[in-house]
């Protein structure tokens, strides 16, 4: 009886607490969400006039993403890098044994015995994989003039790699979907990306400055370069993570 009373008391307290949190959040956010001031046009006008000229990209979103604010994009890539390697480190430590130490050196795939796979799936994914890969390359390399870019292209490439790995029956049979190869591609393209951001430091025009000025390579070359590196890194990283996840379940 006393126990039940106590439970009751806790639940009233709990409900009150939840209610207070909701009321606080709603009250704080309401004025921000309902603010009706006119959306500022300054940045839009500036970019409409100068964006393509300064960065060479017709896709203005790309010109911000990899031109004016490329440093943010570097940070975003790093978040993905840490998330991928952290996720793999956490899940590759299988089983309920919770040993000490950080045994994370290598992920070798885990057990793949109980995979349910039909012939239809193998044929379709195997044939579709290369097509998706090519589409991913297109999205990646033409991000400066059409929607898309390194990140989106990278994700498409990753799904192409996964399809190929599904189609060829087990990831170890195919060089592209081998986890070691993917890790190598990811590491090298991250190194190249960091070096690309530092080109400007070496030539003396500043961190993340565009080293190409139209002579001989037009300025858009830098965006394509960054897109390619980000695409490779993202593609390899996400494919690496997915191959690791496919390794120990029957997805």
């Amino acid at each position: 009886m006393a126990d039940r009373m106590k439970n009751n008391k806790i639940s009233i307290f709990y409900k009150l607490q939840i209610f207070l949190a909701f009321a606080a959040v709603a009250a704080v956010l309401l004025p921000v969400f309902l603010n009706d001031s006119h959306w500022p046009v300054f940045a839009r006008d500036y970019l409409e006039a100068n964006g393509e000229e300064q960065t060479g990209a017709a896709n203005i979103v790309s010109s911000i993403y990899l031109g004016y604010r490329a440093y943010d994009t570097l940070g975003e890539t790093i978040v993905l890098l840490v998330a991928v390697s952290g996720t793999i480190g956490i899940i590759s430590f299988t089983g309920k044994n919770l040993a000490t130490g950080y045994n994370e050196d290598d992920f070798e795939g885990g057990n793949r015995k109980n995979r349910k796979r039909t012939v239809l799936m193998e044929v379709v994914t195997g044939k579709l994989g290369p097509v998706i890969l090519i589409f991913g390359l297109y999205v990646m390399l033409f991000g400066h003039m059409s929607p898309g870019g390194g990140f989106q292209g990278g994700v498409v490439i990753a799904s192409g790699i996964i399809f190929i790995s599904l189609g060829t029956g087990g990831s170890e049979n195919n060089i592209l979907s081998h986890s070691g190869v993917l890790a190598k591609i990811e590491a090298v393209s991250f190194l190249l990306l960091v070096l690309a951001s530092a080109i400007g430091l070496i030539t003396g025009i500043g961190f993340f400055a565009n080293p190409f000025n139209g002579n001989p390579i037009p300025p858009v070359g830098y965006i394509i370069l960054l897109n390619a590196m980000i695409g490779l890194k993202v593609g390899a990283g996400i494919a690496y993570m997915s191959v690791a996840m496919l390794g120990d379940t029957d997805l």
Binding site: A26, L29, F33, D36, P40, R44, I60, I64, I90, P147
Partner: protein
């Protein structure tokens, strides 16, 4: 106006998922919803000053504000990365406790400490 009120409701639903739901996977659902809401808010409001996509072709103007779009690309990706990490942590928590209930996980793991 009505759109933004709906977005606020969506935001509160996401917050509800995080704070009230006991299941950790549902908490992560809530986080995903929260993240999408703010992306939608930015893009929705940023699109009000123009009528064309921000890809310049033959002087079609006015375009919508491209800055929020570029920012939201980053926000989406960061949100998914955090989700992925959270899910892998949840996977490990499930492996060591066998439950998704946050209170049970807490009492099982911190039992011997307090």
């Amino acid at each position: 106006m009505i759109d933004r009120i709906l977005l606020l409701i969506l935001f509160l639903i996401g917050f509800y998922g995080i704070i009230v739901k006991k299941n950790v996977i549902k908490k992560i659902f809530g986080l995903t919803i929260l993240n999408s809401t703010i992306v939608m808010l930015f893009v929705l409001e940023g699109s009000k000053i123009g009528s064309h996509v921000p890809i310049l072709e033959e002087n079609i103007t006015p375009i919508v504000d491209p800055v929020p779009q570029a920012l939201m690309l980053t926000a989406i990706v960061i949100g998914v990365c955090v989700t992925a990490l959270a899910l892998s942590i949840v996977y490990r928590l499930f492996n060591s406790t066998g439950t998704f209930d946050i209170d049970e996980i807490r009492s099982k793991l911190y039992k011997d400490e307090e």
